[in-house]
Structures are given as structure tokens and as C-alpha cells.
Chain length 646, copies 2
């Protein structure tokens, strides 16, 4: 989604009418006002509309296919891959239906749950594959209902491979993909965008190429919105297929499926499954290097790039669909060489947007979950509406509890041994903890020579923006102000600024300085004295694990700490410090001390007791400097506090 | 209301808890979030709460009593007086019940409609008097229901004077004010704040002073929230009365009614009606100067000031209620000399807030009605909810039509002859019209030596802010860009700025430059060419009376053109350029050419035809410069347009 900001903006600022076209005074009586600011047109379009807009504009795009992994650990890795590959700007991803893997279940590895994660937690437009043979109508309906409930809006309707040797039609059963397309349209009307498969060489079981084309047309007539093809090895194959489709009246988009060859065995397996024949000229290259994975991959990338170039140069193709085999390197390389990997550093909002249709209007979040957006999405998944314009307007219910299921997604990507190296095999006191925080900030190795690349509150390395504050952060962490979240003040930088910018171009972004940290009650006592001097300037919330709460914030009112002013739009204020949700965040932030850190050590061990002591006695503090046009005073507040303590 | 901003802000930024007081983690599960930003606490408090807050803080305040006028013209003048006296910051105004004047009717001069205007159009907290004797229960209930429907929240419950000579109690009737208080509480529960009258010398018809005190206590026990007293001439009278009230257990606020003597005859009449005796020492001063109005008024002011000082110095009195007799000078003078006339130039929002309870959350309006706020309130009076946070969030219905009733309030305060002197007895061409606009901007007299102090689109002289643009405005009006609304760009001035500031202190206010004007199609053609150069920077809407509409604004999206950033709050964006409501405004703005200007001249007269030509052929244009941090480019746009035409 990231790379669409530019496009959206230029489209929306172009003239809507160049002369005397009449919009009519009737519209003054129209009460159906736009209920949300269209910061990002993509968020409000369905997939077929996005595709259509790209066809009309001639913009090139790509999409990525993944299959559900076999193990929970592999699922964690796949999700990280989604996040990384999202940066290149795919129009959508799709997740295959794996009948043997209990695909509609709530297992971490099911097709349904992987697709759910892609949509909701990674913010990716997602197509879920679904097969129909050997399933009852009720099962299929239930699966579609579940997909809808989870926020999935696109289905790839497939027949699937019949189980067993013999394939028999069932009367009134789902024998072909077209039956599933019809069923989706009859039961769910226009809710889903429906994709079907096309076979450039004809389906291996079809009577003939022509008969297969007729089947494809039936699927389209039954309501399919677009076609993704099976893989092929020569651009001519696809271009001929496309012309043949058009000749028999298929007018919907047809997207070529691209398979960069990544290895000898995966190619053989795929070819066997799909009953395709590998052209002799390719076999001739591959056979001699079949044991050299790197050589085969390089060749595969080369081959894919030149075939894609031919497709794009034909003028008939704008979008490419990649069979990734859940791998990252080959596909990314092909896209980069085609100039289609569009790593736009600009963001539609300062945080990653979820793709669930319910969350379309969402444009405000509390700052606290900045490093844990998936946790925020999980805990608000039951909300019926999301704040738009103002946090205070939200009538949303309380934050949900973190459950075990989700903890799977939250659990650190690093194994226990690695965490112990980073955070200390043995802690000798609170100062050992200060050192861990300091090393995380500075990037310097700890005294055992290990770099600290993650913390319980931050799964990832420091944000670029945080680098702006590095020097001060180092100083304060060393002295026991254990920072977990911060942002500098920004007084009107262009929205295209590579570090702090977000939203469409032509705008200006602003921030109030923010600092959030754990610290001891001794420091809090001094801090409160110092804060009296800053009473009119700094808002603070100070809370311990028991919920003792000290604040000077106006009752229950959120403080906007990030906002943007854009041409022709209302103001967007995507990040707030909200007193109510801070208390939910507090529970989560304190729990992470125990769940992620203390539990690395034996019960009753001194290390564990140090973390437990911090958990029980420290305060979580947040500070906002309201005077964003002046120099950030929060460092002065902290310096004054240390001075008072000396 | 204006003078409360300071107070609100300092209250909200003080520490809510100075130590370990527990707000409890329960509140993290509390879903009842603040649904609106408390920019102005007063808007969310009922009158008795405002009074209580002032009692607690020791802040002094005053209120003003008016009676309904006899003629429609007098009503127009009274409403202007409301607007002017609102500037001094009264806690409330009250409007007496005039049984002979059809008080509950929809007449322009009825008590009900005057009170309605005070609340809704002047934004004043208002008490409506209501009497009960000689009225049926049903009539009284209907009157109360009507008052509620109009947004009135406070009733002064009175018995009223029985009609005819003999006064007989009716069985089950409303014989005393206490019956009305009970009725209000039984039928409307706690909806209204109820005020009752106290008689510092005892009611003239009471058996005794003590008996009258007991009656007063009954009224309070029946549910009255506070007491306003009859006028009196010596501070001792009130202070004794107050002590006697407290002695028998009356604990609600008791507000002294102050009557600054303004003339011999008005004093005599009031004294006769209220059966009070004027002390000999006052008579001794007044009788010798009874024909010298100025001398009596000066003496009256002197007397009132010294009596009020004694009351305030007693420490028992914080609020003063003034019987104004619908006059301005004496009361204003007393208040100024007491230091209680608090003309705070700061505004809670850039526009005057209506006091209707439905409009409490309203904090966004289109910029178009900036000079016609009463028209805006009238046309949106049927809305069930008002935009809060964002204009786009409003689900409000269409704008109402301007009806004759309201045109009474809209009609110019100047008589036809005066308007003709200002706008020209005889127009000789479009240039004569250009000259009128130019003279309005410059303040210079027109060629016949008359100053132009109002225009059809602006009842009042130019806003101070507009002076910032005077030079450029003069230049463009002279050449046929007939400006009716404009604002300069502001890049973060303190919210306390005397010219452009609004909202609580400690904030920063911003504006995008705005320019709205009528102009010929020739100029529009050139302007459109010029605007192509400014495509990414300037948003425009260009529309003629037929509704032909040219714009480059993103579909239906409002553009925020005034916003403010405040400590501990979300962002307030009180003024937007909204494409949808612009088309409603267009109808009104074009109609004013005909209704207010063309109709000054005979039908078929050349002058009338000139205005009619402009109405039929000119365009209404608005321009927004989105680049608020840079120098306003709108003047350059206009200069470029003129250059293109040369």
C-alpha cells in the first residue's frame, strides 16, 4: 500500500472539471457527506477497483503468492516475510488453500489464519484460495462466512485436486470451480471479489485448449472478476492465450502467473503437479547445473526478468503475479531489476494501516503501541467502529486481553539463548538492566560482546526517527530512565520528509515531543518536584503496576502528539496520548517485564528477582512537551531531575 | 462566555492528583470516553454548576435582565444590544414574561422568541421568566415544553400579578410561585434550572417579613436552585435578608438584584409597581434634578457602584444581577467601574458559539457564513447533531431554507435611505458597484461623501483581522474582484494573540489564506488559466447562480482552514471550506444581491438592472492557499490574472 501515496495525491489534486460542467445546486441538498478523509484512496477501494485504476493509468503492479507453512515457527517467519515484502508495494498477496492442513481451522498454520494475519496484522490486500471438490455446500458456506468475518474480501475459486485416483462427478455437488463461483455469487452477492485460474496451455484434464477456454468463459460469466494464470515458460504462451481469451469475449483482467525458477527440485515438483512440460532450452541449461542452487537461481531470475520484460513490452500486461514458493530473494530480485519494487519510504499514516474493511476509517491510535502494532490490532479486533478524526469520538469498547493464541505472534523472534546473551545471563542489580537498555539505544555491544537488537517492548531495531534522539536517550538510560518509546518535536516538516514524513505530498507534518520510560520511585519523586516548574507546558502520566496514577492531564482528554495538514483536506491527527488507554497499555508494558524477561531465568534466581523487583516497584511515565515550536524541554526536565537527586 | 477561557485552561492544567492517589486500573476498562474536547468547560455545565464553580473559586460575575420589546424594530435593536453586552461576559441574561404581549407565541416580540434568540443566536446562557397565575396546567406545561424545545434550560418561576382587582385562590390552581416550581419538578424532573424571586423587604402582599421568608424556603424546598432578589436601595437591606435566609436554612445562592437609577420617571414607575419605598436621602438628591436625565443617571451609577462595592466587600456576594431596563450605558458603566466588565478579546472558538444544548459539541463550521453567523444557526437549527472534530463526520441533513421569519432578524439594521446613500442612489455601471466594495474596504467616503459601513454580506464593519489585508483588498476590489470574505494565513501564533487568537491559552493557532469574491466571467476565464500554475498549491471553487461549478478540490472533502493546537488536547479545526455547503451558501450569497441591493431600486430601473446583471452573470469564487507556512500566494494569483487580462 505504501507506494500508492504519490499516486493518490496527484489524482486528487487534479482538476475535476475544466469548464462549465454542472454539478448542480441539487448537491447542496445532499446530506451524504464523505464520512472520512480520503487520505489513501486505496483503503476505500475493493481489489477489482484498484486493479481497474491501474489498468486505466497504465501503472505497473505486482502480486505475491504464498502457501501456508507447516509449523508455528515457520508461520512466525512467514509473517515477518509479509512485513518485509509489503515494503515493495504488492497490490495484493494470496494464500493457497491446503486441504491437508485443516485450512479453515484456527490453527496457526491454517490457510484461513495466515490470510487473516496478512489482512489484519500486516495490512495487506489478500486473496484466500478456496477449493470446492469433495466438500459439502454447508462446509463451503461456513468457510466463506468465516473468511468474511475475519475481514477477507477476495476469494480465488478453485476446483482443487480430487482425493484418490478416480474422479467422479457428484450430482448437485461442487464439481468445478464454476460451481463455487456461482455459489459465492448466490450466497454472498457482490461481497467478495472473485478470482479464477486460467491455463495458458489449457487445463491438463480438459478435452482441448478450446474447451478449456470455454470453461474459463463460463467462470467469468458466473461472476469472476479477474483471472490469474497458471505458470508458463514463454511469453508467447501467455500472449497467445490472452488474445484467444479476448477473441471469445473474455474482457476481465488476466494476470500472468510468473514462476522464477529457484531450484532444481522445486521446479521438478511443480512441473509434476501442474503437468506442464519444461521447454527443452531450459532443461538444457538446468540439467548441467542441477546441484548448484545459486547458479540455478541466478538463471531463474534472468529468465523471469526477460520473460516479464517481453510481457510488459507487449503493452497487454500491466500486472505480474509471482509464485514465490514462500521465498523472498528471487522474486524481490526480479522485481527490483524490472524497476517494479517500489520501496517508498513514505507512509500513508505514521503507523501501518490494517486492511480489514471495518478499519477503513481508522486514522487515530494511541502512541503507546507504536512498537507493538500487532498487539494493538489484536486487542481492538472486537471493536465495531474505529476512531476517525478524533480519538475522543470513538465509542469503542475496552481493550481486549492478550490471549495465548496471539502470544504466539507476539513471541520474540529470537530464541531464549540469544535473548540471554543480549539481556544478560546473570543480572547483578538494577544497573545491569540499565546497561541493557543503554546498549539497545547505542547499538554498542554489551560487556560480553553481544549487541542488543531487541527488547521486550520493541521486537525490531530502533526506528530511524529515534536516531534523532540517540545521544540524549543514551545519557538518560545509563542513569535509570529506561526509555521504551519517544519521538522528537517537529514543527512543520514537509510530508515527504524521508524520516518523519507521512501522508500525501504537499502537506506538513507536526509532532509534540514524547518520552515514555520506566523508572524508580526515587526518580519519580524528584521528577514530580521538577514537573511543577513545567506545569503549563508538560503533560504527564505516571503509573505503577498497581494502577496508582499521577497526572496533570485534563480529565480523560487525549492529547494529539502527531498531526498533518494537507492540501484540500481536514487535519489528520493519527497519534494521541490517551489517558484511558494508557492504563491498558500499562498492564501490557509491565507484563512484558515478567513474560519476556524474568521468565528467562530460574524461579527464585537473583536475576529473576531483580526483574520482579523492577516490575513491582518501578513507575511507567510518559511526558509530552506541548510547546512543539520551541526546543524540546523534556531533556531539560530529566536533567533537572538528576540534578535534584545529586 | 468569552471571559471564561482563561479560567477553563488554568483549571484543566492543574495537577489532578499530587501523590499516590489511586485512579485504579479499572478505568482502563471504562469505555465511556470523553466524546468532545472540553475546550470551554462552561459549554458543558448547567447554569447552577457555573454559579457553583464561581462561588467555589471566588470569581465575581454579573447577569443582566431584559424585557421583551414592543415592536419588531425594537427587537432588532435589543438583539444587537445582546451581542454588544455579551462582550462584557455576563454569566446569564434573563427575559421577563410579559403576559400582555402574548409571551409564549412565535411573535418577534414575545418573551419566548426573545429568549430563544438570546440562547441560539447570541450564544447567551438565558433564563426565561414564567408566571403561573390565571393559567391552566396544560398551558403552563405546553409553554415549558416549547421552552425546552427551543433550547432554554432555565426558568424563573413567578406567580405573576393577578389580573383584575380581586385576588382569589383557585382550588388546584397555580396560586403561588411554589406551585409552578413543584409543577416543573414533577413534569420535567431535573431538566430545568429553576430560579425564584426573593424580597429583601418581604413581599408587599405577605403577612409579614418572617412569613415571606418561610414562603421563600418553601420554594427552595420545592426545587428552586437559586434566588434572585427584588431591587433594594441599601446594601444593609440585602445583607440582613441574606443572613435571615441562612438562619432559617436557605442554603442556595442568593443573588442581589441591582437597579441603577436611570431616570426620574422610570424610577417612579418601578417603585409604584414593586410597592417599594425610596429612601429619603435618595429622594432628596433626585427631586431637585428630576428634569436632568444625565445628572440622574450619573447619580444612579454612583449610587449603584457604591452599593455594589459594599455588597462585594461583605464577602457574602460574588454575583450581581442588573435590572437593565433594556438600556446599555448605565449598567455597563457600573460594571466597568467595578472592574467586572470583562471584555476579553479572546474567543473560545473563532466564531461565536450558540448556547443551545444540542450544539454543545459543535466545533466546526464552514467559513462561508463567517459574517452571517445567525443565518448559519437558523439554517442548521433542525440538525439533530453537529459536527465535532471534523466536518466530514457530520451526518447532519441539508441546510434549511431562509424563511421570512428569520429574514426579520437578517434584515439590515440600516433604513433604505441610508443604504441608498452608501450603495448609490443611481448606479451607472458595474464600476459603480466596484466603488461601493472599495469604499467598504478602505473606510473612505464614496463620491457623495458617505461612508459605506455595511454590505449585503456583512452587517458589521470589517473584522480587525481583515485589516491585515486591507491594502491588497482595496486594489483588487477596485478592479472588479468583489471580495466578501477573506482571512490571512497564520503559521502558529499564540492562542492569546489579540487579533487572530482563540481558545485556551498556551496554544497555537494556524490558518490557511482564504479569499472569496464575486467576479465577472471574463476574469474567471483568465483566473482559470493562471490557476493551472498553482494547481498543487491552491484549491478553488468557482460557481455561478445556476450552479455551474468548477473545482479542483478532492470530491466532497472539506479543507480545514483554521485550526488550533492546545496543551493536553486533540486538535480543534473550527473552520472548513466545504464543497457541499458552499453550494448552499452560493444560493444565499447570490440572493442577497437581489433581496438587499437590487430591491432598493425601482423595477426596470437601470440601477436595478445592473445588480440583476451581476447576479445573473458573475461567479462566486473561493480560493485557499494550502501552503500556510509560505507567503500568501493568493494576491499573486490575482495579480497574474489582471496581468493576463492586460
Amino acid at each position: 500500500m505504501v507506494n500508492e501515496a504519490q499516486h493518490t495525491c496527484s489524482a486528487s489534486s487534479s482538476s475535476k472539471s475544466d469548464g462549465g460542467s454542472s454539478s448542480g445546486s441539487e448537491s447542496s441538498k445532499d446530506s451524504s457527506r464523505c464520512s472520512t478523509p480520503v487520505l489513501d484512496a486505496d483503503r476505500h477501494e475493493r481489489l477489482r477497483e484498484k486493479m481497474r485504476r491501474r489498468l486505466d493509468s497504465g501503472d505497473r503492479w505486482f502480486s505475491l503468492e504464498f502457501f501456508p507453512p507447516r509449523t508455528a515457527n515457520a508461520a512466525v517467519n512467514l509473517i515477518s516475510r509479509f512485513d518485509r515484502m509489503a515494503a515493495g508495494g504488492p497490490l495484493f498477496v494470496d494464500v493457497t488453500w491446503h486441504p491437508a492442513g485443516d485450512p479453515a481451522s484456527d490453527k496457526e498454520t491454517s490457510s484461513m489464519i495466515i490470510a487473516n494475519t496478512a489482512v489484519n496484522y500486516c495490512g495487506l490486500e489478500t486473496i484466500l484460495h478456496m477449493t470446492c471438490c469433495n466438500q459439502t455446500k454447508d462446509d463451503i458456506t461456513a468457510n466463506l462466512q468465516k473468511a468474511k468475518r475475519l475481514g477477507l474480501k477476495n476469494i480465488m475459486a478453485l476446483r482443487g485436486d480430487p482425493i484418490g485416483e478416480e474422479w467422479e462427478e457428484e450430482v448437485d455437488g461442487f464439481n468445478y470451480a464454476v460451481d463455487l463461483v456461482k455459489h459465492i455469487r448466490s450466497e454472498f452477492d457482490d461481497y467478495f471479489d472473485v478470482c479464477v485460474a486460467g491455463y495458458p496451455k489449457g487445463h491438463p484434464e480438459a478435452e482441448s485448449y478450446e474447451a478449456d477456454l470455454r470453461h474459463l468463459k463460463e467462470k467469468v460469466l458466473a461472476g469472476a472478476d479477474f483471472i490469474i494464470t497458471q505458470l508458463f515458460f514463454r511469453s508467447e504462451t501467455f500472449l497467445k492465450f490472452m488474445k484467444d481469451c479476448q477473441a471469445i469475449g473474455i474482457t476481465c483482467p488476466i494476470i500472468p502467473g510468473i514462476f522464477p525458477i529457484q531450484g532444481y527440485h522445486s521446479l521438478r515438483q511443480l512441473v509434476k503437479l501442474s503437468k506442464l512440460e519444461v521447454p527443452q532450452e531450459i532443461k538444457d541449461v538446468i540439467e548441467p547445473i542441477k546441484d548448484n542452487d545459486a547458479a540455478i537461481r541466478n538463471y531463474g531470475v534472468e529468465l523471469a526478468v526477460s520473460m516479464c520484460r517481453e510481457l510488459l513490452d507487449s503493452g497487454m500486461v500491466h500486472g505480474l503475479h509471482f509464485y514465490t514458493l514462500n521465498r523472498e530473494v528471487a522474486t524481490t530480485e526480479v522485481l527490483k531489476r524490472l524497476g517494479m519494487w517500489n520501496e517508498d519510504p513514505r507512509r500513508p499514516l505514521p503507523w501501518a494501516v490494517s486492511a480489514h474493511p471495518k478499519r477503513r476509517v481508522e486514522d487515530v491510535r494511541p502512541i503507546f503501541w507504536a512498537s507493538r502494532p500487532k498487539s494493538y490490532i489484536y486487542r481492538t479486533q472486537e471493536w465495531d467502529d474505529f476512531p476517525n478524526g478524533r480519538w475522543g469520538n470513538s465509542s469503542s469498547p475496552a481493550f481486549g486481553e492478550l490471549k495465548d493464541y496471539y502470544l504466539f505472534y507476539l513471541k520474540s523472534k529470537s530464541p531464549r539463548e540469544e535473548l540471554l546473551k543480549m539481556w544478560g545471563e546473570e543480572l547483578t542489580g538494577e544497573e545491569s538492566v540499565f546497561e541493557v537498555f543503554t546498549c539497545y539505544i547505542t547499538g554498542e555491544p554489551n560487556k560480553n560482546g553481544h549487541k542488543v537488537t531487541c527488547m521486550p517492548w520493541n521486537d525490531d531495531p530502533l526506528a530511524t526517527e529515534t536516531n534523532l534522539l540517540k545521544e540524549q536517550l543514551e545519557k538518560v538510560n545509563r542513569r535509570g530512565i529506561l526509555t521504551i518509546n519517544s519521538q522528537p518535536n517537529i514543527n512543520g516538516k514537509p510530508s515527504t520528509d524521508p524520516i518523519v514524513g507521512w501522508g500525501p505530498s504537499g502537506g506538513y507534518v507536526f509532532q509534540k515531543a514524547y518520552l515514555e520510560f520506566f523508572t524508580s520511585s526515587e526518580i519519580v519523586t524528584a521528577l514530580l518536584k521538577v514537573l511543577k516548574k513545567y506545569e503549563l507546558r508538560v503533560n504527564y502520566h505516571i503509573v505503577n503496576v498497581k494502577g496508582q496514577n499521577i497526572t496533570n492531564a485534563p480529565d480523560l482528554q487525549p492529547n494529539a502528539v502527531t498531526w498533518g495538514i494537507f492540501p484540500g483536506r481536514e487535519i489528520i491527527q493519527p497519534t494521541v496520548v490517551d489517558p484511558v488507554s494508557f492504563l491498558s497499555w500499562k498492564d501490557e508494558a509491565f507484563a512484558l517485564w515478567i513474560e519476556q524477561w524474568a521468565k528467562l531465568y530460574e524461579e527464585e534466581s537473583p536475576s529473576r528477582m531483580i526483574i520482579q523487583y523492577i516490575h513491582d516497584n518501578y513507575y511507567l511515565v510518559n511526558l509530552v512537551d506541548n510547546d512543539f515550536p520551541l526546543e524540546n524541554c523534556l531533556w531539560q526536565v530529566v536533567d533537572d531531575t538528576f540534578e535534584l537527586l545529586n
